[in-house]
Point group: C2
Chain length 464, copies 2
């Protein structure tokens, strides 16, 4: 594979005058009256394409070069030269052109050069990474995902691959997909005429998980610092720009940590991720900043620059109640904060990221630690300007007796193994969850979460 | 969190004489006749536990220290001192002990100190990471997984999160799990009395994927170098030490690459991963080498040290046919190699890792590139001593006409989007798949794949 990534050529890693070979796909062709052509070639390694100058003297200039269209794959050999034209500093003066693959019926090529709506591009999700926007999203996603792993690795967290298939349906975080090998056309029945799940693959009902947290806690209470980073699922029939049926989530969990430690970790983690993207994705972020969301880079730099504000839920309610603002949803102690409230608090009241802590116990999950006031739990949400909640976490209830009360109050039973973690060397511990696609949207300015994952799964949509 | 990871203390990162605090779980307690006790404390950060010396003068020595048992969680403050005892160079001379969590009924603590069988430990998978063996597996798994990402990141591969839920059931790699939100107790029926999947969540039948490859190819033909690293599923009712219903797989895919490039990548990748573990997991590997598999480190070093041998399938068959060996399964051109054949070839014939290429087309998947002999395809398997196949890959069929013939021959249709990749700027490309748990078993010497993943899913087993 003796060829150059376009990234290395345009970033000056290869000297002018060097013989080079590039391999990629045609973005566009422009023919000069002087009898030569300009070919714009991309290979996914960089935001920019590189320009190749195809002289009329190429043996296949008439027969092939002049028939190239967007999407054709080519190999171009030549010399790297300083570019005379605008918009690029180097180009390839070609002395050989090889066409690898033509485009079948160029007029109907689904992503021919003109701009397409993001909605349309979702219908050709197998081709959209060839566009500027989705190429950029792919690169930013990779940088962000690697920053996630690097952050935890450098801090001695263990990456725990918690199971996707689960037989416990009591996590309470949302509707679940059933996983089964039963023949729906011929369901096994027991003596009572009920579907006999004993005949199913796992010998019982099984589902796709909504969170790796409970399993991560088991590893946390052995390894001290762990995280999950994997797919999670929601079977909610929500056809919105913010919901996916399948998405990736990051969930760290730390032993001997309380809610303050948790908030500090969330803040540090978020700052690290944004800094990594700001440092490593300059060209792609500049593109998003120019074409998708004008204030993007400034907003990200703002989040990185200042310490996150902190406030109790009860204080947040007081601020919202006394705000000179009409909200769509009511503000009252005991109600969850809606997006409009969250955004008011961080965008207008604080003017920056904000961590809200200690929510009413009745609106939060059973595993969150009961505070001494017995009305609130040690939960926290990180709110960011322009999006609202970006991280949600809590200190976990480590006291068996109180955990049992909370489970009973929510009508949950079972989970003996989870109770064991409190019976055998329990310790205070805390963690949080970060929706990866949601963060990616925040970083790129993209509005629809279906554009933050390669092949989105949503109600009535599992193409590709 | 002003406390020290045990790892940092035992590796000499903290000076002797420094006041330190450790937080972790008791592995064992030993009382001296001199009126003080030794406590062995682990926190998951290192293979070794650290010894804390608890003097009888501690205010809670009688009331608490003397009641500590394996599994209790403690915070110990004191001074880091050079150890007088055997087996450790430093220990903590305690001046304060705080018990965070007791063990409920120590006699029945499921992983009390004596050794347990791995089979038993699977039944307490939520507690087994507290054992030496599973703590070590967890750390090696993390190092290995991070090495996977680092390898590709440093080489400008894009990490593509291919979908887990898929509506295409024609990948042909194995039986699949159905994913559904239909109420099995009240299935919707169409006019013909058939189950009406139009009413299901995705508006059609959906399954858990067996491979991300086809989706990765779409991104490969835009970004040039991509990989997946995520969960995949098999609904095969195989209750063996080598099968999991849910496991993690690494699948790189490279554009403008042929089978030789693919084999070179596989060899380089495997060498990188083993080198990373050899360099970073010294203590844990030494443990596996001593207690699990005596020849382990030598075998891994052997794989790293020498170039992998290469041979065609046809040559492999000739060697097997003329071998002075009785095989259980027949050897004949056209039959797949069984584990006994693979191991003979690499362990006895070659004496090291071996890459076998160009298998008969009829035993391989439709997407593998047909060779000019029209009898074989450009497939390759990497075989390693002690395990057999560890990587399987191929150059992909990039020619639409031949792909169509191959699909027709195997009775497949649909996959229009996959055909599009050959209609629009097709290029030669190649990739492979590596089963992550299989590699982890190879590296640790563990025999059962259920011990290589935190919470294994197998037939009739989805606990935790």
């Amino acid at each position: 594979m003796q060829y150059s990534a376009i990234k290395d050529l345009i970033r000056g890693q290869v000297e002018i005058g060097t013989p080079v070979e590039i391999r990629g796909w045609v973005r566009s062709r422009r023919d000069s009256k002087g009898g030569f052509s300009f070919l714009s070639v991309h290979d996914g390694s960089a935001h920019a394409a590189i320009q190749a100058v195809l002289p009329g003297e190429l043996p296949n200039y008439q027969s092939e070069a002049l028939h190239l269209t967007a999407g054709c794959s080519v190999i171009v050999r030549g010399e790297l030269v300083a570019s005379q034209g605008k918009g690029q500093s180097v180009e390839v003066q070609a002395n050989a052109l090889e066409v690898c693959g033509w485009v079948d019926d160029p007029d109907s090529y689904p992503i021919a050069k003109k701009r397409h709506s993001f909605e349309y591009l979702r219908s050709v999700a197998h081709l959209r990474p060839r566009t500027n926007t989705f190429g950029a999203i792919t690169r930013v996603r990779t940088v962000l995902a690697n920053a996630v792993h690097r952050y935890f690795y450098e801090r001695d967290f263990q990456w725990v691959n918690t199971p996707l298939i689960t037989a416990s349906d009591c996590e309470g975080a949302g509707e679940m997909f059933r996983v089964s090998t039963l023949d729906l056309h011929n369901l096994p029945r027991n003596a009572a005429g009920q579907v006999d799940f004993n005949e199913d693959f796992f010998g019982r009902e099984a589902f796709l998980t909504v969170s790796g947290q409970l399993n991560a806690e088991a590893y946390c209470l052995a390894m001290s610092k762990v995280y999950t980073f994997g797919p999670t699922f929601r079977a909610e029939n929500s056809n919105t720009s913010r919901h996916l049926a399948e998405f990736w989530m990051v969930e760290p969990e730390v032993a001997f940590a309380d809610l303050n430690d948790d908030a500090a970790l969330a803040e540090d983690f978020l700052r690290y991720l944004l800094t990594a993207v700001l440092n490593e994705c300059g060209d792609d972020l500049a593109f998003f900043n120019e074409f998708i969301d004008k204030g993007l880079i400034k907003r990200l730099e703002g989040v990185v620059a200042r310490p996150f504000a902190r406030m109790d839920y009860s204080e947040a309610i007081r601020i919202l109640e006394s705000a000179d603002r009409k909200f769509e949803f009511p503000v009252a102690w005991g109600e969850d904060l809606k997006s409009e409230h969250e955004r008011f608090l961080c965008e207008e009241h604080v003017g920056g990221p904000l961590i809200v802590s200690n929510y009413p116990k009745d609106i939060k999950a059973f595993y969150m630690r009961l505070n001494d006031d017995e009305r609130t739990v040690a939960a926290m949400d990180v709110l960011a300007p322009g999006i609202g909640e970006i991280i949600g976490g809590s200190q976990r209830e480590e006291r068996l007796e109180i955990l049992d009360q909370r489970m009973a109050a929510q009508g949950l039973d079972g989970l003996e193994w989870y109770r064991d973690l409190r019976r055998y060397g329990t310790v205070p511990h805390a963690g949080f969850g970060l929706g990866f696609e949601r963060l990616l949207n925040y970083i790129t300015g993209m509005e629809n979460i279906r554009d933050a994952i390669p092949f989105p799964r949503v109600p009535r949509q599992a193409d590709f």
